[in-house]
């Protein structure tokens, strides 16, 4: 019996992913991005200690418009991963699993991450 032509479920090309699925993927993507951020963080500390010219160049780059856009993106990725991580920790202790709660906390995570990013750059920028 040939089973290879059976439709997949969910059919990926027509399946409308629920919010929580999109947020889950975004959690991984931001985690991946922030891992590169960790490399930058360590390199930044290393340059402060041992490579003073590189430290000056890094400061100049991240003070430029393009550098700031990257930092703002990192700030949002950080706050998103931070807030959604806390959402995951609530799930880990068995709280907030009702569909309605999952959708609500998903929206809250996006809003709070945006607000915290804005506060960081308005106050600190």
């Amino acid at each position: 019996m040939n089973t290879s032509n059976r439709p997949l479920s969910p059919h990926i090309q027509v399946y409308k992913m629920p919010l929580s699925a999109k947020l889950s993927i975004f959690h991984r993507l931001t985690g991946l991005g922030l891992s590169f951020g960790a490399v930058v963080l360590v390199f930044w500390l290393f340059s402060l200690a041992y490579l003073s010219e590189t430290a000056v160049a890094l400061h100049a780059f991240f003070s430029s418009g393009f550098g700031k856009v990257i930092l703002i993106a990192f700030t949002f990725a950080f706050f998103y991963h931070f807030c959604n991580g806390i959402r995951h920790l609530f799930w880990d202790v068995g709280k907030g699993f009702e569909l309605e709660q999952v959708n609500r906390s998903g929206v809250i995570v996006i809003i709070v991450a945006l607000v915290l990013t804005a506060i960081t750059w308005v106050v600190g920028g």
Binding site: R28, G31, L32, L34, S35, A38, V39, L41, V42, L45, F46, S47, L48, A49, Y50, S52, A55, V56, H59, F62, T75, F78, F82, G85, I86, H88, L89, D92, T120, V123, G124
Partner: protein
């Protein structure tokens, strides 16, 4: 005759035998990064300047240097755990997956050492 308790039997089962440790350390590092992450962002956003001189002066103090060490190492560790899961999920070739997992472990060790070396110099 069965000497092992039910709990002992359940613990450590599964194909990899040690998945719980990974899962638990990912959560522990996540919880640790809640206060440390807030400290890191608030510190940077309230500093007058983020010039190398200002940062070196800041990290010359033992408390910021210590917290920075704790924060950086937790970040690197948590990142290596997360990347491991991504590789296990999406890289299906065994040789490729093993190579990447090894490289990530090496990179993690190198970054931890680099962090300590840097902060020791900055604080002293």
């Amino acid at each position: 005759m069965q000497y092992r308790t039910e709990t002992k039997r359940v613990k450590g089962l599964g194909t990899a035998k040690h998945g719980f440790g990974h899962w638990w350390m990912q959560r522990l590092s996540a919880v640790l990064m809640i206060p440390l992450g807030i400290w890191f962002v608030v510190s940077l956003m309230t500093m007058e300047s983020l010039s190398p001189d200002a940062l070196m002066q800041w990290l010359h103090n033992p408390i910021p240097a210590l917290l920075m060490a704790l924060w950086t190492i937790t970040v690197v560790y948590h990142a290596s755990l997360g990347l491991q899961v991504i590789i296990e999920d999406y890289v299906h070739g065994k040789a490729m997956a093993l190579t990447l997992l090894t490289l990530i472990k090496f990179a993690m060790f190198a970054m931890v050492v680099a962090t300590f070396f840097s902060l020791f110099k900055l604080v002293s």
